[in-house]
Point group: C2
Chain length 537, copies 2
């Protein structure tokens, strides 16, 4: 062997190895093997020790060689298997006569074959094979084969690391999307779909702890029809999900048939075959509420399951990823719950207090709640922005809050009010505005409180506003207010039918009421969006 020739080959190998395209690199390296041996074809096969098979990685020198990539060969009786068993090179002069199955590489007249085992970190890694060659340059092929093994190894390291990066990036994006919702149902839906996507799982399900019974109740599942979700209740001492929520541990079950914690009732009911499960707890962090509110407690609110990994089995890296995701997602859910609770508390307290004010006079019982509903219906028909509709709901509830400052004699008087009494009751919009003036977050609503007895021609009270001076909120609540008043009984007259009242309001558009608001109310009524007092449910 000429050493200059050898050096030139190895220089070529170095140049090939500097490629960052792995397939290209391996292909060119096999071409070099073919040149060195003056061969027809060459192949690189890798050992899949789990399956006990060899997998074709690259083949060169035959037609349609790309089709052979991924081809699997049973170890027994194959040339690759024999090479692995022998732990050294095999050279065969006549493959046909050898009683050894070659790789079916589709090469005509397959005769001479050289098969060399490759080691990496002291483990068998694969074989490099050369067919119908002139020079059996075993040492050089071994050298080039080892180089391919080493390059493959490093490429896989880079690939794995980049995949990890990509998954983290995806996780960050998902957490960002989930974290920008305060809607609990939407959050749960996003959690389950994201988990499935992150882990490449066939299905996913999410259980929340029922705080009363301790059972795990199915809240979302991609493999079960929604109508069946609420009926799937797992006792806290049963099933993998029960175990996860009870202990806070992650559970990886590669084969559900072999794990006796598997609670098959659920699966049997829905006809979905669960082969493997990765289950993690949904554990909220301690949420710091700030100032004198302190922190909410860390706790397990449920569990998350990924079912049947597509193309493979769940591994430890999947488990860490799903745990990380579940903890973040649970905290987002917890924050949305805190928000929803405060929101509910606020609306319910306002509702309770205004209802109490209404209830001082039996004739106005439920009035504020109905005005609020009518005002919202008008606002929706006017296609207003959701944030404004929310303000209108609150303004509707609070429009008569000033009645706190009106004396009982006037408020509860069974008959018609006299002039003086009427002058007193006319103060309630101003009083209401004064009560709420200091509430920074309620500035939009003030107009609804102070202007709900103004008329569009400027003949209303307390300020005689008209035109641009009269806010949309004020106009809407004025219509809603009078509509409820006339469709309700009063000490001095009976409730009027809604249709008649709407005609009356229409007749007074332009003078008393805003035309667009009245027409919106008419449409809302016609569309069945509102119900007046005394109407059957």
């Amino acid at each position: 062997m000429d050493s200059d020739w050898l050096l030139s080959i190895l220089e070529r190998a170095n140049r090939i190895a500097s490629s960052s395209q792995l397939d290209d690199l391996l292909g060119q390296m096999l071409d070099l093997v073919i040149d060195v041996c003056e061969a027809k074809a060459a192949a690189l096969c890798l050992f899949d020790c789990q399956a006990g098979e060899m997998v074709c990685r690259v083949v060169r020198g035959v037609e349609n060689s790309q089709k052979l990539t991924g081809k699997r060969i049973k170890i027994e009786r194959s040339l690759a298997g024999k090479t692995l068993a022998q732990r050294g090179p095999i050279l065969i002069e006549d493959l046909d006569a050898s009683q050894i199955d070659p790789i079916e590489i589709g090469l005509p007249d397959l005769k001479r074959a050289l098969s060399i085992p490759l080691w990496l970190h002291d483990e068998l890694f694969g074989v490099v094979q050369v067919f119908n060659f002139v020079n059996p340059e075993i040492q050089i092929v071994q050298l080039l084969g080892n180089r391919m093994a080493s390059e493959l190894d490093k490429a896989l390291l880079i690939q794995a690391s980049e995949q990890r990066s990509e998954r983290f990036k995806a996780l960050i994006d998902i957490i960002g999307r989930i974290g920008s919702s305060l809607d609990r149902d939407q959050i749960l839906k996003m959690i389950i779909e994201s988990a499935r996507q992150l882990l490449n799982a066939e299905a996913g399900s999410l259980f929340l702890v029922d705080e009363v019974t301790g059972e795990l109740v199915l809240h979302f599942a991609t493999n079960i029809p929604p109508e069946q979700w609420p009926s799937v209740r797992v006792p806290p001492d049963k099933g993998i999900i029960g175990y996860v929520a009870r202990t806070g541990e992650t559970v990886l079950v590669p084969d559900t048939q072999k794990d006796d914690r598997y609670y098959s009732n659920v699966a049997q009911n829905v006809g979905f075959e669960t082969r493997s499960i990765l289950a993690v707890p949904l554990r909220t962090r301690q949420v710091y509420l700030g100032g004198e509110r302190g922190s909410s407690e860390e706790r397990i609110i449920g569990g998350l399951e990924a079912l049947n990994k597509a193309n493979g089995t769940f591994d430890a890296e999947d488990a860490v990823l799903l745990e990380t995701f579940a903890n973040q997602a649970a905290t987002v859910f917890q924050i949305a719950s805190l928000y929803a609770n405060t929101e509910e508390l606020f609306i319910d307290v306002v509702r309770a207090m205004t209802a109490a004010i209404d209830a001082k006079d039996p004739y106005t019982e439920g009035h504020s709640e109905r005005v609020s509903d009518f005002a919202v219906a008008i606002a929706r028909e006017l296609d207003l922005k959701t944030e404004l509709i929310y303000h209108i709901r609150i303004a509707g509830l609070l429009h008569d809050v000033g009645k706190i400052g009106i004396s009982d004699n006037v408020l509860k008087k069974p008959g018609q009010l006299n002039m003086e009494e009427f002058e007193e009751i006319k103060k309630h919009p101003k009083i209401g505005e004064r009560i709420m003036r200091e509430v920074r977050m309620l500035q939009t609503e003030l107009a609804g409180i102070s202007q709900h007895h103004e008329w569009v021609d400027g003949t209303g009270y307390p300020s005689g506003l008209c035109g641009e001076g009269l806010s949309l909120t004020g106009r809407i609540i004025a219509v809603a207010d009078v509509f409820d008043a006339i469709t309700s009984d009063r000490p001095y007259r009976a409730a009027q039918p809604a249709n008649m009242v709407l005609d009356h309001l229409r007749a007074e558009t332009g003078s008393h009421f805003d035309r667009a608001c009245v027409e919106a109310l008419v449409r809302a009524f016609q569309n069945g969006m509102i119900r007046v007092q005394g109407e059957p449910l």
Copy 2:
């Protein structure tokens, strides 16, 4: 050259290259070079094209060779520089006589030197140098040198990818920690500290848009004393931060002296030298509030700056990382703001409505607010949990809400109440409980409303509760309520001094009032935690 010898060398090189320890790999490869050339020493130097210098990567064959790692050599007149210029191997028989500075590797009698340039992806990468050798095996050294370059290249790829993974992991952790706070100040503090840490920056600052003036107001800075923060206000059309918040673009300024957007007023004031800046907008995502609330708008609420990267300059990867982080952090801040707004709205509305109820009788003006403060002071002295203290604050505000249902004649009566009137006013705890009964989130507070006129010996009203039947909230508010009543003027008597009232309450512990609650109130008073009506501010 013997080809078997050559093959054995290359096999050894392959084995060395399979190491995943880069330093070890390069060192062993240089040892192989030394063996091949029968040399005294060898070195691998890498080309730093930005600095125009060579950097010693590994040296073998001399004492204290590890100290030479990282040593920098100017290109001009050095052997390495000459090699790069020549783009080919240089062999020198007598280095002393050559007028070329060698690397100062501390080798005695430095004579023969071989210096070979290394290429990677068609670019000059570095040089491998061999000293005081017997055999100048240029081709083999070139081969081994190229192999080192290739392995270094791949190792750097793996390292970069793993660093990216680590940074994403750190980012996920940071987002999780920030995302578990609803306290805006804490969130801002965490944002700035995390940003600095993520980017290895010397300092960081965070600006928020003033919604009225549009100016960018400094809210946190690690390089400026807190008392100066509020005075740092950047006009929206000035400075890098103004540009970022206005355009939503990321700005990377490697040298502030060369960027005319740099607004040096701030830096000059505080004596911090800003060399480089990475500035990103704080852009909130659209937050979905759920149901009829719809979504809040996406918008830029401010900007974030990382100043002076320690050991280097900010790069594009830093920019992407900080952008990603800033978007998530801004959304977390937005959610905390939404929560704080709802919380403020709720407390303010309750305060306004209860104040209006109190104000019906001029003698009880501000009563509920004071009772709430006193009750909280007692709860704090009793070292209760923050969540319970929050409930007690609300219960204190709402304790007299039942007065909505008491007629004005009784409520506003200028003199002492008669028996019948007293019976009516005694209904207010029950009425209050009834008003709030439907509010799911207020169940803890109900006891404070219904039991604030119960006495510990069972002689109070409305239910005559005592012992275990009387809740802690009820006991606390009972003490706070009577303390405010007696320290306030009434139509039938003047306000009593606080000290006297506390003595009176002490005398009635065990019969009327809970001893622990009264003692807690005494302590709170002595510690200056509460102020009674009429006391100077």
